[in-house]
Homo-oligomer: 347 residues x 2
DNA sequence: TTGTAAGCGTTATCAC
DNA sequence: GTGATAACGCTTACAA
């Protein structure tokens, strides 16, 4: 493999014009079987790789998309992003990843960079809650962003899991298991948490309970530690017998907090968490949790983005701009001990 | 923000030539303070974003790098990649991520794509063990790849954590805690595991033990399940009192396997794992583990890549092509119960 | 079926 | 200090 050869060089070597080579590469227009064979032979021999910068410059469209997310490291977002990357890679698109850190300035900066790279589309996770600054007229899919924003913009799809349903299912499970006082651990500022909290309230009301303010533990930071401390801080007041945790870190933190108190899970306190992180499976007892179907979410996003990028004229038909994906409950041992699962038995 | 404006349009509006605008954008050459101000004003007003495709085409160098890794999802690799992305972003580089899935074909395909996007450099995690196919003459940093490969290639740096040291430290800790029979869970095909195993042997010999073949549990797949089963399958033969697990999944699997047997950790069996995944902290007891400094690894990789990309003439001095980063042991409760940590106490 | 040539947005080399 | 202009590698009318 040599220094990069251009289409011109290939044309020369094959004794044809660049136009012919271009046609062959793109399987566009007419050319003879024979020249095609010869050109391909030369391309292979010289390890020709087309220059996407030139191509993109000419066609005004790069086979590249941008994925903006708070942090690649996050389990849920990372997994979904991975699915999207693979899906679109199979369709010839490369993915530029950008950590936004949930920071407005960073988001703007990312959009600038992506724009300058002439990406064909953008996937944006948990968009920061600022005004339409950084608006770009590009196919865009938002994940976990309030669908009420920019309802009139074309080329936009909102995807989100059914957060209300998640909060509802988890809470209902605790209630069905006999809990009389179900507390919830939540972050007040998070869009998805607000929705999940709505589901929590709904389940409570349905079971004949009135949601109490004291049972809503507002945790400021998403971390195991803050959840653990929140349990300790609130326990004196209201001793719940069920804990609905609106994310995975809260689940682990709550478990540790309850164990700190010398209580047993699930005998004394039952716990349901959110998301499918390894932590929740590794803990003892393993924690029952709401599962968001990452594969499906990723594929949905990728499919929608691809559709918009390929569709030349999306005007006219007013499309479905919002897609909601159902969630499920995965039963483990923090609500009711499962028969098959052995457990540390004390002593 | 309008449809994209080009440098030509800006030049027109500012009443200067494109050359002048270009100079101002790149702070290169001479121009008056006054025109600079005026041009910037217009650029801001029209939200001008330079077209990197055109720039890259002209300069033959794109402000973009490729990060190839088995799976974005992986905790260690994902975290390291995230650090690299942020570091290089700060220096103006965007990062294209590619899942290779440890597959040779996929790796080749990724390299092709990256090459076609004219990336300025590549970071490649756990490169597949094939011949030099896909060789490209680009600044490249490998992580966790045998440094013995391609020792003579310029523009290449190998970075790896001290795997021998990791295996050694973990095993030594178990020995010091009084273990007489330390088994090891490992994948035979993995380069890093081979090295870690070397450290295991070294620690054993240093303590006067001869490494026994029966105490090396070869686990075929890196998963919690296979490790759990490996413990069950091997226990009959040799009942160890210490388990050195060469990655995090093995640590959790081993713990579950030991608990399955009705044994206690750390009283009956002591465990050390590898890597800093959340699982290891969330489990009960929390598992003592070897920590690879992800931040430092990521920064080292990014720094080296940047150096190579900026260095116009790397010839002459034969550089250090291999960088080894030390690891540490993080004490938790699977070797010796820590005083501060409360624990499930069984009723 | 193939070739010619313009042009995409930028930089860089010259002039002035 | 500034302005023409060629060139980067490619696609695409249009001609042949």
């Amino acid at each position: 493999m040599d220094e990069s050869v251009s289409i011109r060089k290939i044309a020369e070597l094959a004794g044809v014009s660049v136009a012919t080579v271009s046609r062959i590469i793109n399987k566009k227009g007419r050319y003879s079987k024979e020249t095609e064979r010869r050109v391909h032979e030369i391309m292979d021999a010289y390890g020709y790789v087309p220059n996407m910068l030139a191509k993109g410059l000419r066609t005004n469209r790069n086979m590249m998309i941008g994925i903006m997310l708070p942090d690649i490291t996050g389990v849920y977002f990372g997994d979904v992003a991975s699915v999207i990357q693979s899906y679109l890679f199979r369709h010839g698109y490369a993915s530029i990843f950008c950590n936004t850190g949930r920071d407005k300035q960073m988001e703007l900066e990312c959009i600038r960079i992506l724009q300058s790279q002439q990406v064909a589309g953008i996937v944006h996770f948990v968009r920061h809650n600022h005004a339409d600054a950084g608006f770009i007229n590009l196919p865009t899919v938002y994940l976990d962003t309030d669908p009420a924003r920019e309802p009139n913009r074309e080329q936009v799809v909102n995807v989100t899991c059914d957060n209300v349903m998640g909060g509802y299912l988890g809470t209902k499970r605790l209630l069905e298991a006999g809990c009389k006082r179900v507390a919830v651990l939540t972050t007040p500022t998070n869009y998805t948490h607000v929705k999940r909290l709505e589901g929590y309230r709904k389940a409570l009301r349905e079971a004949g309970f009135e949601p109490e303010k004291e049972l809503i533990y507002a945790v400021d930071r998403v971390s195991i530690k803050s959840a653990r401390e929140a349990v300790a801080a609130n326990w004196g007041k209201d001793r719940p017998d069920g804990l609905m945790c609106l994310n995975d870190s809260f689940g682990i933190g709550a478990l540790k907090g309850v164990l700190d108190l010398g209580l047993r899970v699930p005998e004394d306190v039952k716990i349901v968490a959110y998301d499918a992180s390894d932590m929740l499976a590794a803990s003892n007892p393993a924690i029952t949790t709401i599962i968001q179907p990452k594969e499906l979410v990723g594929e949905t996003i990728a499919r929608e983005l691809l559709r918009m990028m390929q569709d030349p004229a999306p005007e006219g038909k007013s499309e479905e701009h919002s897609i909601v994906i159902p969630v499920t409950l995965l039963e483990r041992d923090s609500v009711e001990m499962q028969a098959h699962a052995p457990r540390i038995s004390g002593k």
